[in-house]
């Protein structure tokens, strides 16, 4: 494989990175405030669209040839799962950038760095999805998170935002410590008498297939690796930072963080778990326990929240639990179930991204100048005062709760059936129970919006309601309903796993 081909295989990532750097430079070097405003916003959108086109192209070629290639001496793999994750992440970034401009201007935060950081962290997430080596994984996790640390403290004069940044930073860095030490132990633990250790996931997979019993060092390494990734993916009991950070960060950042970081973390988790599948009996119980804890913990804590952003934070934890069920189902030694679970996970990630961006988009739409929408009370009687926002929110809540005919329902259904296929019946039942709890608090919002009288019946002017925010909401709504009714149209996502490099 020559060098150009290596670079070609990660072209979407390179486009995003280059866009980020150009935005950063152009913003710092131009003096005209008004020009910068459109330049940074427009150019980032353009770059993301370019990357999306490129990723789509590659995905199409990929589907035609079903050829998964590794690049950079095996440290990066481009298969259809990778490319699907690219597409999902890029769509998230697109929506996040669309959402941002007027919201940031209302909070006096509209700086070019915002877009550059969103692009950088998107690139980090994309690299996480394609990494086939634990060190690449580590570096890309950090690219994703360092940008997000800064973003969550982007309202740099507000105490809440700074506090969110500090908490996220300290716990995130703590988690990276675990991640790196886990990688180091895996490197040591995968050695045999004749072979040096490896951090390459494909080599690790081969080693585990040939040499079934893992060493103690390897088991410790895997455990630490899971702790590190669980922090990033916000799984109970490593979720403490999530509600605080989601509440404190500017809402547009929260929207991006909720979707983008989770997609990256789960793509990475899926890669690691697929590589470790041959010794599934050693670690699968731990992952299943985490999944149960996360689903119930997230849902039960969400019930008692008054703050909408905090509630959505706990709900995102619960969704991480559902995704972890898919990871568990993908880790069985049954190729059909493995593929079904990978596809279900890709579909659910897409659904989750769209509904999260949409729900936070409505919150941004409703926030007024200098004041974010905070409590559930603020939504009282919304159906009277702002019908569009209320009904959009209604659909997003139904989708998050997993009620048909939305994408959220289809996603849950796919995960459910994949889990049954994998023979983990009890986990599927637990997941169904947990999502029943979740319906309570999603419907609480619906009830507040639609069946309560507004405090002030007049129609409120929404300073933030720009075309970009409306576009995000409408795009998310459309995606969610169309693919909720016609999930087959996303056949690519469902077949995502056909050509991954690992053998379970």
């Amino acid at each position: 494989m020559n060098y150009a081909a290596n670079l070609m295989s990660i072209m979407p990532v390179l486009i995003v990175l280059a866009t980020g750097m150009i935005v950063l430079l152009g913003d710092a070097c131009s003096a005209q405030w008004r020009a910068r405003r459109w330049y940074t916003w427009g150019f980032s959108l353009f770059g993301v669209l370019m990357a999306l086109v490129q990723a789509g192209n590659q995905l199409q070629t990929q589907m035609a040839t079903t050829f998964s290639e590794t690049a950079f001496a095996g440290s990066i793999v481009t298969d259809s799962f990778t490319l699907t994750c690219y597409v999902i992440l890029l769509i998230t970034a697109l929506l996040a950038i669309l959402l941002a401009m007027t919201y940031l201007e209302n909070r006096n935060l509209n700086l070019g760095e915002y877009y550059a950081l969103v692009l950088f962290s998107t690139a980090g997430g994309m690299l996480m999805a394609c990494s086939n080596d634990l060190i690449v994984l580590f570096v890309s996790v950090e690219i994703l998170s360092v940008a997000l640390y800064v973003l969550s403290g982007f309202a740099r004069t507000e105490e809440k935002s700074e506090e969110a940044a500090l908490k996220y930073f300290l716990l995130g860095a703590f988690a990276s410590g675990f991640l790196l030490y886990g990688i180091a132990l895996v490197y040591g633990g995968s050695a045999t008498a004749n072979h040096a250790g490896t951090t390459n996931l494909a080599d690790l997979n081969l080693y585990l297939i040939n040499d079934g019993r893992p060493s103690v060092l390897l088991m410790c390494g895997i455990a630490l690796l899971f702790v590190g990734l669980a922090f990033k993916a916000a799984l109970v009991p490593f979720h403490m930072w999530t509600p605080d950070v989601y509440e404190g960060a500017p809402t547009s950042v929260t929207a991006y963080m909720a979707a983008g970081a989770k997609i990256g973390a789960f793509a990475a988790l899926m890669r690691v778990c697929s590589a470790l599948a041959p010794i599934g009996e050693y670690w699968l119980p731990a992952v299943q326990t985490l999944a149960v804890l996360t689903m119930f913990g997230g849902n039960i804590l969400a019930v008692v929240q008054d703050n909408v952003k905090r509630m959505l934070a706990y709900s995102s934890i619960a969704h991480a639990g559902y995704l972890l069920v898919a990871v568990s189902a993908a880790s069985v030694r049954n190729e059909q179930a493995h593929n079904a679970a990978m596809g279900a996970m890709a579909f659910y990630l897409m659904a989750y991204a769209v509904m999260t961006m949409g729900a936070f988009g409505v919150l941004i739409y409703l926030s007024r100048k200098g004041r974010d929408l905070q409590t559930i009370e603020d939504l009282r009687g919304l159906a009277r005062t702002d019908t569009f926002a209320a009904y959009a929110m209604l659909v997003f809540m139904l989708s998050l709760g997993g009620i048909p005919p939305t994408m959220g329902f289809m996603g849950k259904w796919f995960i459910f059936s994949a889990t049954l296929q994998a023979g983990q019946v009890w986990l599927a039942i637990v997941m169904a129970l947990a999502s029943i709890i979740s319906i309570y608090y999603y419907l609480k919002i619906v009830w507040m919006m639609c069946f309560q009288e507004p405090e002030r019946p007049e129609v409120v002017e929404h300073a933030v309601a720009s075309g970009g925010v409306r576009a995000t909401i409408v795009l998310s709504l459309a995606t969610m309903l169309v693919f909720g009714i016609l999930p087959g149209a996303l056949g690519i996502l469902l077949n995502a796993a056909e050509t991954t490099v690992f053998r379970p």
Partner: protein, 100 residues
């Protein structure tokens, strides 16, 4: 004779010290130093193992980890300075507007 095991044990001890430090300290700068200790424990493991296997990989990994740690340091110090500017304190017990 100092063997690879010695390095592994040392790095495990360093890692544990770092972890405990993160959990018990209240000053973010000190917490951050403890996190650095954890990262460097991992670096020591990587270097020792790379040497043990006769590979150059271990050392390369450490260079990546160092670069990442440097980026984290600057972002972390930036956040701490920003907090100090508005709150006049960086004691972690006083940075708690948001609770459960």
């Amino acid at each position: 004779m100092i063997t690879t095991e010695h390095y592994l044990v040392l790095s495990a001890i360093l890692f544990t010290v770092g972890t405990i430090g993160v959990l018990v300290k209240r000053n973010p700068i000190v917490i951050f130093m403890c996190i650095e200790l954890m990262l460097n424990a991992a670096n020591l493991t990587l270097v020792a193992l790379g040497r043990h296997f006769g590979q150059v990989n271990g050392q390369m990994y450490v260079i990546f980890a160092l670069a990442v740690a440097a980026a984290e340091v600057s972002v972390g110090l930036g956040i701490i300075v920003a907090i100090f500017r508005t709150k006049e304190t960086i004691n972690i017990d006083e940075v708690n507007l948001m609770k459960f």
